[in-house]
Structure formats: C-alpha cells, structure tokens
Amino acid sequence: MKTKKLLWIISIIIIASFILAACAPAAEEPAAEEPAAEEPAEGETITVLFPKHEADFKNAFDARIREFEAETGITVNLIQGDWESVANRVIPELATGGSAFDVVEFDNGWVAEWCGAGWATSLNDYMEPGYTDDMIPGLVDLFTCPDGEVYGLVWNNDTRFFYYNADYLAEAGFDAPPATWDELIEQSLAAKEQGVVEYGHAPYWIQEWALANELHFYTYVFGGSLVDDQGCITMNTDPKTLAAVEFMIETLESGAYDPAGLTYNQVDAQDVFLKGSTLFNPQGIAGLLTYTEDPTISNVVGQVEIGLVPTTASGSSAALTLPEAYAIPVNSQHKEAAWKFIEYMTSKETNIKLAKEIGILPIWVDLFSEPELVSLYPFWADFQAQLPTARGLSVITWYNDFVDITNAELHKALSGRQTAQEALDNAAAQLSNFNCVP
C-alpha cells in the first residue's frame, strides 16, 4: 500500500520535473527583436567581463574605466579575473542565452565558434563606416565573421616578442641575438657549456591550452599549416609542419631547451627566465619588460632586450598574434552603452594612455610612429617589421577539440614516446570527424 503511494509521489515529481525541464529552455529564448537603438540613458549600468591584463599591476585599465564613467555617466559593473574564470563565466551564459553581460571578453580562439552560434552582436551597426580602416588590418580580420561584419574590437594586442638576456649572451661570447633557430640552438649550447645559464630556453609545454599556441608558433615560423581555409586538416601532410614539430623535439634532445619545460606553464617559464636560468624567452606579453625591472621577482634587471623572432635556415619567419577583443553579447539589454564603452576603451587616446602606463601595444597603425611612444619603446620598430607576417590561431569551430587532441599527441612526442610524424598522424586520425568542417 505504502509503496504504491510512494511510487505515485515519485512519478508525479518526475513528471512535474519533466514539464519543468521542458519549459526551461523555452523561457530562455532570446528576445527575438533587438531593442531599437535606445539612447544610453544617464545612470545606465553595464556589466563588463574581461580578464585582468597580465601587465596591469598599476590598475591602468581600472583607471580608464573610471574616466569613462565620469565622462558618460554610465556606470560600469566590472568583473575581472583570470582568463580561465572569465571563459567559464562567459561561455555558459552565452550558450544558455543569458543577458547578464553587456561587454565580454572575445578571445581569438573563439571567433569561429561564436560566428557559427551567433552569440555576438555585429559592431557594424554601431560604427561609422570606415571606422576600422586605420587599425592593424590583421586584428580586424581576425574578429570578422564569414558574413563580413566585425564582431569584436581588440583590447589586448598580444603579439609574440623575442626576449633575450643580452648580458648573458655577451658573457657567452655573442654580440647579437640569434638570427636563425639553428643559431639559437648553437648559442644555447655554447652558453650552457660555459656555465652561463642552465638552458637556452625553458619552454612552457605542460599539457594545457598554451601548448597549442606553441604548436601554431613553430608551425608558422617554419611556414607550415595545421588546417586550411576550408577547415581541412593539413598538419599531417604538410612537410613544413613536420619540420616544425621535429624541431621542437630536437630543441629538447639537443639539450638547448630545458626538458622541465614539459611541466611548465607560462608563469613557470617566465620565473625561470627572470631568475636567470635561461637565455631566451619568446613570449607574448608586452609587459614582460616591466617585470624584468622589478628586483623582487627578477635577477636580470637591466639585462633583457627584445629582438626579432629568428628565422629558419631558409629565411622563413613569422610571428604569432593572440589578440583578445571586446564583444557585445546578442542578448545584452544595453547595447548602445556597451558600444560606447568599447569605443572609449579602444580609442586612440586610451591606447596611448595604456601604452604609456603599462606598455600595451596599440591597435591603431599610426600610433607605432607616435614620437613620444617610440622614444619610450624603441623596440616597437621591430614589432612593426613583424606585423606583415603576424598570424592568428587556426580559425575553426572545433578549435577546442583541436587543442585537446593535438596537445595530448604533441606532449607524447615531446616526451620522446613517439615521433613527430606519429603525433601528427594520430592527432589527424582522432580529429577525422571534423576534417573539412570550417
């Protein structure tokens, strides 16, 4: 008797929850039509979510946002954190059709996915025609969806620099940084031999997200490719990609790179470089120079300089750019104010202020010849030389799977458990479901 009752109760609960479950997504449907261009009201509040910049220990971004508030009367509810935590808040919110955020982080690795899913608002509706003409073209292209419209404006122009310790290099008997990667190995081994450093470079090759960036970097340097424009996998057939991965393995086997790099993330690699254990650190952060000048974290104050990324024997070189942009989620209720925020934060004036304070790279081409900034950062000339060859990550909707699978295979190859060709073949085989899916 009792059991029957119990069964009844349970089935009612289950049915009720099915109904609830069935309703849940329906209620989440985004309001179909966008609120027609509403004027940003005085006292409007927007919620903004993007990662804290690694060089921003002076809170320069916060200061700019305060200025924006004072100028426009719009209140900014700023949520910051590290990149991971921002990603884990943005993605569930957008994927479930939420409207909590008005301006969000838009990473270059997400572009294809967001374009396909329609999560961001086209900024073309808000920009003057030709607004992006003076920006670095590569940065605009990266955040342009296949429909030809721009969905994100870059706030962090993150491009890989080649940092080296000039003093150690001189001590080892070299008066110039390596021009080619073979020279880099040579210099590393020589400096190691003489006891100047422990290794040429400690790579950040722990099995996580940044390892895929490294694969892109070396592949681009060697002129190889991972996927083509149609999203077809080319990494296991392109001989130059194979050469790149073989080179990565060789750096470890020859003793030029620190094998402990297989357990390092970017912070660890940087700690080791700043400690003075290594000669080189090809790294993407514009702010590393300011770190080197801080004696509480650096043994190499005044010794670090910036050069060009070395070329291969055949003269091929490239830079990797990993920019992050601001985007407006499609369900935002405050799009006009959100655009005002993006416009303000990516303007030339703000670019100049952030560059002066914490060394952020501008997104406007002509600022690289701005006399005041050039005198402050003479190495920007080199950066400009790199600009034409700078490339972004592979643009594929399945980039997360690409990272997951290639990282595992690549890490195995770097650990000496399989060859470069095996790694690329295995990765391509496991990704075969996605082959030629853009």
Binding site: S17, I91, P259, K275, A408
Partner: protein, 300 residues
C-alpha cells in the same frame, strides 16, 4: 498485542517520512531537475556551438564513449588514483586517529591542527604542491638534495610514474584529516565497558584493536572510504593545476574529460553521457563492497 505492534510499525512509517521528508525535498529540489535534464541530454547530440545538429540519438553517445580511448584510459587512471588514495587515507587516518585518542600533553591542540590540510581550499593546495614539485626551484628537490637523497634536481612531473605518485601524495595529504576526524569521533562512541571486558579477558592491545575496535568502527570506515573513493572521481583542480593531465594524459582523470567536453567543447550531450556511464560503472563495485562489509558487520 497485534494491534500494538501494528500501531508501532505505522507510527514508524509516519515518523520516518516526517523526519526524512525535509532532507529529501531539499536534496531533490536542487539535484533532481538538473539530473533529469542532464540524463535526457545524455541521449542527445547536444552541441551548444552547433545547435543545428542537435537531435535525439539514443544510446549513440554511450556507444561512442566505449570507443573513446581518452575516456577509457582516464577511467583507469581515476580508479588507480582513487583506490591508492583511499588505501593510504585509511591506513594513515586510522593510525593517526588511534594515536590522537591516547592521552598526551597538547592533545586538543594537535586534534584541532590536524584538520589544517583539509581546511585548505583545494585550489591553494594545488598551487602549493605545484610550487613544491617545481623542477627548477621546488622545495621537494631542495629538501631531497640537502638530505643527500638525490644529487641533481629532478623533473618529477615529466615522469608518468612520479607524476602519479606525487598527485596522489598531494591528495592523500589533503584528504586524510577527514578520515582522522571521523574515525576519532567513532572511537569515542565505543562504550568503555566493551574495552574493559576485552582487557579483563587478557587479550593483547593489538588483538583488542583488530577484534573489538575495528568491527565497532567499521560502519564509519566503510562510509568514509566510499566517500573518499567517490571524491577521487571528482578531483579536478589538483590535476589541472599540478600536471594539466600530463605527462601525455597519464594523470588525466575523468572529471577533466567531462570538463573538457562540456565547458570547453560545449558537447553537453556527450559530457553528460560520460558522467552517467562513469556513475553506472561506480555503482557496481560500491554496492558489492557496501553489501559485503555490511554483512560482515551484522555477522559480527
């Protein structure tokens, strides 16, 4: 007589439901709907990044899981991780609890201090061990070389064996206090007369411990070990921070595969199927274990 008995049974029914009702409602209110939703998802191709392809696909996700070598090997790694962790947590935990049950100066303080590792947020625990295990300047290398055990600093985390050992060590260090605390309390509930009787019988301390103490705290031991085992399957921060799942996925645990498939690749259908298949696989040994232990307890 019969009516009295009947009355009592009925009474227990009413009382039982009344007493457990609030808890059931509280658990189900929060857990039930998400659970039903996600079970439903596990039969779908639910890919938030490609909504056009979403469809009901029956057991296909589950079939694909059996062919997913990353998943199956993470399952093996997780079993290894959990079982070894539980064994050490039990041995260490019971031993420490027995010692802390003796009378000594400063006992209260040591008992309070004991829970420190467990009180530490897991992200802090992970960051701390990562720093300790660092190949270039870590405290583990420093300690071992200053003691003369190693000549050169070692890259511990690039070796599959040592990486596994060290993440288990970090886990055992953090989780053992839970066992200690629970066993310590269980030891208090053993009536003094029982121990007295054993002592009068002239049985040795070790015999008393094995024959009297252990069976009496067995329910607690069983529950603690089951919980610790299940928590092993949910270990996430420790691995992501310390090894990232490496070297070459050898320390990758199930929770990381689920995270990768849901939060990263946004394949919620596949991720849910992974979670429920894992749960299903876990239920079988747990039920066997719980039954056998329970029987032994009753027989005693």
């Amino acid at each position: 007589m019969k009516t009295i008995k009947k009355f009592f049974i009925d009474n227990e029914h009413v009382l039982g439901w009344a007493m457990s009702g609030p808890a059931l409602i509280a658990i189900l209110a929060i857990v039930l709907v998400p659970m039903i939703q996600s079970i439903g998802q596990s039969f779908q191709n639910l890919d938030l990044a490609r909504p056009a392809l979403n469809a009901f696909i029956g057991l296909e996700n589950y079939a694909n899981l059996l062919k997913d070598s990353r998943y199956t090997s993470s399952l093996v790694s997780t079993f290894r991780f959990s079982v070894i962790s539980v064994i050490f947590e039990l041995i260490l935990g019971v031993s420490i609890a027995v010692v802390l049950n003796k009378k000594f100066v400063g006992r209260g303080f040591v008992r309070g201090l004991m829970i420190l590792p467990w009180a530490m947020p897991s992200i802090v625990n992970a960051a701390m061990w990562k720093w300790i295990y660092n190949a270039n300047f870590g405290a583990l290398n420093a300690l071992l070389s200053q003691l003369g055990i190693i000549e050169q600093y070692q890259i511990w985390l690039s070796d599959p064996f040592w990486a596994t050992v060290l993440v288990i060590l970090a886990n055992v260090w953090k989780e053992t206090p839970f066992t200690v605390l629970m066993v310590l309390s269980a030891l208090q509930t053993i009536p003094e007369e029982v121990k007295e009787a054993a002592r009068v019988d002239g049985s040795s301390a070790w015999n008393t411990f094995i024959k009297i103490t252990i069976p009496l705290i067995a329910p607690t031991l069983m529950i603690v070990s089951i919980l610790q085992f299940l928590w092993g399957f949910q270990t996430f921060e420790l691995i992501t921070v310390v090894t990232g799942g490496g070297p070459f996925s050898t320390t990758e645990l199930v929770a990381i595969r689920i995270y990768q498939n849901t939060f990263r690749s946004l394949r919620f259908g596949y991720g849910s199927a992974m979670a429920y298949l894992t749960a299903l696989i876990l239920v079988i040994p747990l039920v066997i274990y719980a039954r056998s232990t329970y029987k032994r307890m009753v027989n005693y």
